[in-house]
């Protein structure tokens, strides 16, 4: 009897509780569907496959960056270094790619793993500064982001580097089933991230740290190690985002990282991952990135004047957060 009592309380109260939980779980997706329906009614061409491919192209790099920061946010920390990390990874990739032959068909393919290592290394530094110097992740990562942007500027002197290799650019130019390859690459990394989140100890530890750091620590978890791994993993995903960003516009420059901070953090929150940690995950972020990009694309497609778009984006983001996060369990917001 005692046992069944425990299980029933674990599963949550029957009736309204389960109903509410289901709504909370699926709310971000509902928001996305409502937005798609809204834009489709306003302008039927929004619903075309080619437009979805365009939304896919604009989402893919941001999605990788947002997934990286999702792990950090699940831990209840924040990482604001993505703009610097993306720029540095993109530029190091471009330098290495051109130096090693300038086409994927040569040794230049090595530039791809090198970029991922660079991203992971910056994330590692980021985490090390956060943990060892005991600086809040907000400040440590923001500062590292500036260092990254400055380093990127130092490397390029303000120049942009063009990557014209057709094989690499096939990320954008070659399509399977109407979608460019970069969309499939992004999907592959979403699956990898999902695997890490749900099938590895590391993934579970992210939730443990985010759900209650003291408890996790008391249970014998090396919290600092988990944090360090988290920041490294995030750095690697930022580098994947950098590669897709370079693939999309064929240019690596200091500005490659621009805007990724706003888009990724917004997407994570809109997708229903809570900034206080422990709640949400990779699929929430996928939906969140799509919500933000559907709004951006849809506003132009329905012909909203440019001067209205920033304001409307802000309001829609607030509305999406209100609808898609479970705030009932939160007694105060900081």
């Amino acid at each position: 009897m005692a046992l069944s009592d425990t299980t029933s309380s674990l599963a949550g109260a029957p009736g309204s509780g389960i109903y509410r939980e289901a709504i909370v779980k699926w709310a971000p997706l509902l928001v996305l569907l409502v937005l798609i329906a809204f834009f489709a009614i306003m302008e039927p061409r929004f619903l075309s496959v080619r437009n979805f491919a365009r939304i896919g192209i604009s989402s893919a790099p941001a999605l990788m960056v947002a997934i990286g920061v999702t792990f950090i946010i699940i831990m209840g920390s924040i990482d604001l270094s993505m703009e610097g990390t993306v720029s540095v990874s993109a530029i190091l990739f471009a330098f290495a790619f051109l130096a090693l032959g300038g086409t994927l068909a040569s040794w230049a393919w090595l530039a791809v793993p090198m970029a991922l290592i660079a991203g992971g290394f910056i994330g590692f530094l980021n985490g090390l500064i956060h943990i060892k110097l005991k600086i809040p992740s907000f400040m440590a990562s923001l500062a590292m982001g500036f260092v990254g942007t400055g380093f990127a500027l130092l490397l390029t002197g303000g120049d942009r580097i063009r990557i014209e290799d057709e094989l690499f650019r096939s990320l954008l130019t070659v399509r399977w089933l109407n979608f460019p390859i970069m969309c499939y690459v992004a999907l592959l990394f979403v699956l990898i991230a999902w695997f890490i989140q749900s099938r590895t100890t590391l993934g579970r530890n992210f939730y443990a740290v985010g759900g209650g750091e003291e408890l996790a620590h008391a249970s014998g978890l090396n919290v600092n190690r988990v944090r360090l791994m988290g920041f490294m993993l995030a750095g690697i995903f930022y580098a994947v985002g950098a590669l897709l960003a370079v693939g999309r516009i064929g240019i690596a420059e200091t500005a490659t990282g621009n805007n990724f901070m706003f888009v990724s953090i917004t997407s994570v929150v809109v997708g229903g991952t809570a900034l206080w940690g422990g709640i949400g995950g990779v699929w929430n972020t996928v939906v969140g990135v799509l919500i933000v990009n559907v709004i951006n694309n849809g506003m132009v497609v329905i012909g909203l004047p440019g001067w209205l778009q920033d304001g409307v984006l802000g309001l829609l983001v607030i509305a999406a957060v209100v609808l898609s996060t479970d705030r009932k369990s939160v007694s105060f917001v900081k």
Partner: protein, 363 residues
């Protein structure tokens, strides 16, 4: 597009059509006479004050300044670089410090970082007896002629006329008819406003061209790619896209590349970047506009220096020689190769005493 050829010829033949206004006795023969004075350690200190050198535009400005110093037979390192890093306070403090160090024996060219900072800078220089030229930032009520000789000149660049001309190149490439979209800079930036205005002016002469929409893409390559993608959804076939900067043109171009439309949809940019010129040569872009910062870097410093050594009296010059628009070069497919050879692969030899020669019509 003989504009460029004429422009280059003008420079090459060193025509001194406006040379030193009416300053008689300052012909070509008199110039060598100045050279010993330059090498002389007692000549005025030369300085350029600007944001920083990591930006290609300011790097070209600084290089132009160094080229002028070199043309005097001096070591380019003698040019003092005052780096303000975007701070008006630092900009002014550095100028005041240098004035104190040089006892006012200073020839300064400066971008004061923001409009209101122009006045304190000019007043400090004038009070110390130095000579200053400004570019870009000053308020509308600040004029060189209100400061006698010490505030030598101010130069800025208008985008309206060049944007008009470059839009026409895109419209002509479209065959004078079709559907066009525009990508603008940050809506409140003066260059963004001027460049849109220039395009609108050109549009009046093309009744068969329809402007579908004009949206800001905030000078950003990735944003431009995304907005261009949305335009393609909304409008389907688009024959041309006018971008207020090369950075945005690159984004629009890549959105077109993703759809296999490069070459079909004509792309116009602005800023005369190296990559844009190369894309014009490849036939992927139609036009861009160069504002020649290298020339500005040398010419403005040269004006201040020649005023400082008394080679000409600024107060005797007409007002259009003291506040003027700098030159813009419109580059099209026909002259991109010339431009690349003369301005990118090599640096033109300028006659730094031909102050007002290469400029477009003055204010």
């Amino acid at each position: 597009m003989s504009f460029i050829k004429a422009h280059i010829e003008t420079l090459a033949t060193s025509r001194r059509n406006f040379l030193l206004g009416s300053a008689a006795g300052l012909g070509a023969t008199a110039l060598p006479g100045f050279r010993p004075a330059l090498a002389d350690a007692h000549g005025p200190t030369m300085a350029w004050s600007y944001r920083n050198r990591s930006n290609p535009y300011w790097n070209a400005i600084a290089s132009g300044g160094e080229a002028f110093v070199k043309s005097l037979g001096a070591d380019p390192e003698e040019l003092v670089h005052l780096i303000n890093e975007g701070s008006s306070e630092k900009s002014l403090a550095d100028v005041v410090a240098l004035l104190a160090k040089t006892n006012g024996n200073l020839a300064l060219a400066i971008d004061a970082n923001d409009g209101p900072n122009g006045r304190p800078v000019v007043e400090a220089v004038a009070e110390a007896g130095g000579y200053v030229c400004t570019i870009w930032n000053k308020t509308a009520d600040l004029h060189p002629w209100d400061f006698g000789d010490n505030y030598v000149a101010h130069a800025s660049w208008s985008s309206v006329d060049p944007a008009d001309k470059s839009a026409r190149i895109v419209f002509d490439a479209m065959g004078g008819k079709g559907r066009v979209v525009g990508l603008g800079g940050i809506a409140s930036n003066p260059p963004a406003i001027e460049r849109q205005q220039g395009m609108m002016n050109a549009l009046k002469d093309y009744p068969d061209i329809e402007l579908l929409d004009y949206q800001p893409a905030n000078w950003d390559t990735q944003k431009a790619a995304e907005v261009m993608g949305s335009f393609l959804t909304r409008f389907g076939d688009i024959d041309g896209v006018i971008c207020a900067s090369d950075t945005m043109a690159f984004g629009a171009l890549e959105a077109l590349r993703g759809e296999g439309l490069v070459g079909q949809t004509k792309v116009g940019g602005y800023d005369g970047t190296k990559q844009a010129v190369e894309l014009i040569l490849k036939g992927e872009m139609s036009t861009t506009v160069d504002t020649n910062p290298f020339w500005a870097g040398g010419a403005l410093l040269s004006l201040a220096w020649h005023a400082a050594i008394g080679a000409f009296k600024p107060s005797e010059e007409p007002q259009e020689h003291r506040e003027f628009f700098g030159p813009s070069i419109i580059i099209s497919e026909a002259d991109a190769a010339d431009f690349k050879a003369n301005y990118i692969d090599s640096t033109p030899e300028y006659d730094w005493t031909d102050f007002w020669g290469p400029t477009t019509p003055a204010l």
